[in-house]
Amino acid sequence: MDLSSINPTLLLASLIVASTPILLAALGELVVERAGVLNLGVEGMMITGAICGFAIAVNTGSPFVGFIAAALGGAALALLFAILTQLALANQVASGLALTLFGLGLSALLGQGYQGIKPPPTANIKIPVLSDLPVLGPVLFSHDLMVYLALALVATVWFVLNRTRAGLILRAVGENHGAAHALGYKVIRIRILAILFGGACAGLGGAYLSLVRVPQWTEGMTAGSGWIALALVVFASWKAGRVLLGAWLFGGISVLQLNLQAAGVAIPVEYLSMSPYLITILVLVIMSADKSRAPASLGRTFHASD
């Protein structure tokens, strides 16, 4: 066993990269759930985003265009969910599970012929002075645009939800859709927009996996990240800041356990592999023991005549 082979700076830098996909997906789902909709199709939207982004990036040669396509792909799948649950009033749990299965199948179909190809590289942004700082430079200031976008999104989601009227209305819809309707707010329209936003975020998260983190396309490559993102939202008590913390924790332990495996620690590989899931959930369960609770209308179908 040789722990000295683990470089802490490199570890922290890869932690941020590893956490970005679930951070993006979880932020999207957070907004969806705050609006009172439970979309269990995150995994399906992520993997759809992963292949859409990958295919378009390979064909255009531009990862930037790829990410846009991924967001659109995720949102398109979310639109299907929105139509089913908000207009046809289908059950949200069943529709979400179906969306995941559909997304996995669709992505496998779309991905035929893309296996084993390398995507165009996503450039890291060099920030003068800051990127050259010791330790902090490589950890914080030498990533690609998507990492910064995800971090900015955490702040934006927090600000919009807690400090703006639009966010207040969105929370009101998730809290009591009957009352929001009685006050004249368009419950269905607001929810559809939230669902589309959630789909776009999940798509971006998926594309980050296929274009940056891995980077290549394999069937089923999200491997449960969507489900982790879902769990993260719940255990983070529907708060943006805690989602970031949970994502970093999960990403950090994932990277650390890989490093430990490589260093040949005398713990069976199976235990190391399950540790990110166990520790993240444990920490968030302890943190969610305060009085915060789920949006009161979460998962309930709204019909205007009620």
Binding site: R165, L168, I169, R171, A172, E175, N176, G178, A179, A180, A182, L183, G184, Y185, K291, R293, P295, A296
Partner: protein, 507 residues
């Protein structure tokens, strides 16, 4: 007469199968309190929804100050000066008072200024409120203040109030009326919906009465008796419950220092409740909603267990006994919430009759259901308690509130309880059905059962109960004979005015 503030002409609205409003016309003058009377389903709420822009009329039109008024959404109605205090469903429990107020406004000022204005308005109208508190932590009366202040901040010309006093103590009702009179003196018109006829007689200048969607009459409430108004609503006369002379017998149910911790976040814990209930009497328990009524019923029915010796039924400790065993011993209960608690909404009346009648009515044979016996049981309830339904196979959800209430109360009474605990027996039930239910409770007691009736309707409790007590924050007041009590005394037993003060002019 001057031009009315709001004129309704020939408003008609039909839903598939029912005509909710049929050619309704009347005027509301500025500065008057106008009562809208009618049984459940008479079309009051549809009418109000049309004025507030939630529903568009099929025919007819409205005029405000002589100009056409046809709001397509609540926003337009609010801009025109119409504000509404809802009976249910319009507050957001997890949000703060200020956020709730902001959601009801078109262009709310920044939060800090809004909090200031909430403090100002709430003080000048005698409704103190802290803008930063979470609504989920507020009492029912305080929540109503939030709604009223939300309306007042928009300088309304017409304020619609739907059953505003059902959650208030008598003292709080007085303060509310002061606030409303102050508003009318400023020229605001109030459209007031209530079932409480005595209150309408005291407050309202004009009344319009609806029945089956049609306007059937108008009256000046202060010059009309409550009984005449009730008969206009129902369309015929009905019997007032009559009480037979009887004497209370031995103690059958006893609570000794019953304490139960709260089971939910916004629930109430029961603290040291002592009472004894005698054969042949009705003990009325009053109190403002959310002071432990649901918890007391749950502790008595067995849904929530308590210390073994805290509840004694015929001297046997039953604190840890489950509901089915308590039923077998003769302690039956009917909770407040009809749909989802007393009855399973999507199951038929027969199935609902089975759910509580299984053991006492012997409706199973070693676990196999006896369907024909169950159907007979359900049909006998329907006949005996005059439940208006096509058959016993109809889902509970399809019945109107009053009919379902007659069914769930009748279901328990038909099982000949020795102790019957009931919460809000006539909540949301029309006058005729309420009279029938009260009569059934009186008959049950005079036939030798003991009845514990929890209710927020003081007139009802005074009408039927022999002794009276009130719940306040999970504690039970002293128990007093009902005949000697005045409304003021009862109000004090219920906890007084919960920190409200009478409206005063800003100095």
């Amino acid at each position: 007469m001057t031009e009315p503030l709001l004129r309704l002409s020939g408003l008609t609205k039909a839903y598939p199968g029912v005509v909710a409003n049929d050619d309704v016309s009347f005027d509301i003058q500025a500065g008057e309190v106008h009562a809208l009377l009618g049984e459940n389903g008479a079309g009051k709420s549809t009418l109000v929804k049309m004025i507030y822009g939630l529903v568009a009329p099929d025919r007819g039109f409205m005029q405000m100050h002589g100009e056409a008024f046809s709001p397509k959404e609540p926003r337009e109605a609010r801009t025109a000066g119409v504000a509404m205090v809802f009976q249910h469903f319009s507050l957001f429990e997890a949000l703060s008072v200020a956020e709730n107020v902001a959601l009801g406004m078109e262009t709310p000022p920044p939060m800090r200024q809004l909090s200031e204005r909430i403090r100002d308005v709430s003080n000048s109208y005698g409704l103190p409120l802290d803008p930063s508190r979470t609504v989920g932590d507020l009492s029912a009366g305080e929540r109503q203040r939030v709604e009223i202040i939300r309306c007042l901040l928009q300088d309304p010309r017409l304020l619609i109030m739907d059953e505003p006093t059902s959650v208030l103590t008598p003292q709080e009702v007085e303060i509310l009326f002061e606030t409303l009179r102050k508003l009318t003196s400023e020229g605001v018109a109030i459209l007031y919906i209530s079932h409480k006829l005595e209150e309408i007689r005291r407050l309202c200048d004009q009344a319009t009465i609806l029945r089956h969607g049609r306007k059937v009459g108008t009256c000046v409430p202060s010059e009309t008796s409550a009984r005449d108004m009730a008969e206009m609503m129902v369309g015929n006369s009905f019997a007032t419950p009559a009480r037979a002379d009887h004497r209370a017998g031995d103690v059958i149910l006893e609570l000794r220092n019953l304490s139960v911790p709260a089971t939910s976040t916004f629930g109430i814990s029961l603290k040291d409740i002592n009472l004894s209930l005698r054969v042949g009497e009705i003990l009325g328990i009053g109190g403002v909603a959310g002071n432990g009524q649901d918890e007391l019923l749950a502790a008595l029915s067995g849904e929530v267990r308590s210390a073994r010796d805290a509840i004694l039924l015929q001297d046997k400790p039953i604190g840890k006994t489950d509901p089915t065993a308590r039923r077998a011993m003769g302690l039956l209960a009917a909770p407040e919430e009809r749909l989802g608690h007393a009855a399973a909404p999507d199951m038929s009346l027969t199935e609902n009759a089975l759910l509580t009648g299984l053991t006492r009515q012997n409706l199973h044979w070693h676990g196999v259901l006896k369907w024909s016996a169950a159907r007979n049981f359900a049909e006998s309830i329907i006949v005996k308690f005059d439940v208006r339904t096509p058959s016993a196979n109809v889902a509970a959800r399809a019945l109107s509130g009053g009919n379902l209430q007659k069914f769930v109360i009748g279901r328990e009474i038909m099982q000949r309880p020795s102790v019957f605990v009931v919460n809000q027996p006539t909540w949301g039930v029309d006058a005729a059905a309420a009279a029938a239910i009260r009569q059934a409770l009186l008959d049950l007691a005079s036939n030798g059962a003991a009845v514990l009736c929890i209710s927020q309707d003081l007139d009802e409790l005074l009408e039927i109960s022999d002794r009276f007590a009130a719940l306040n924050e999970g504690r039970l007041s002293d128990i007093k004979p009902a005949s000697a009590l005045t409304v003021e005394e009862i109000g004090l037993m219920m906890g007084g005015a919960h920190g409200m003060e009478v409206a005063h002019d800003p100095a």
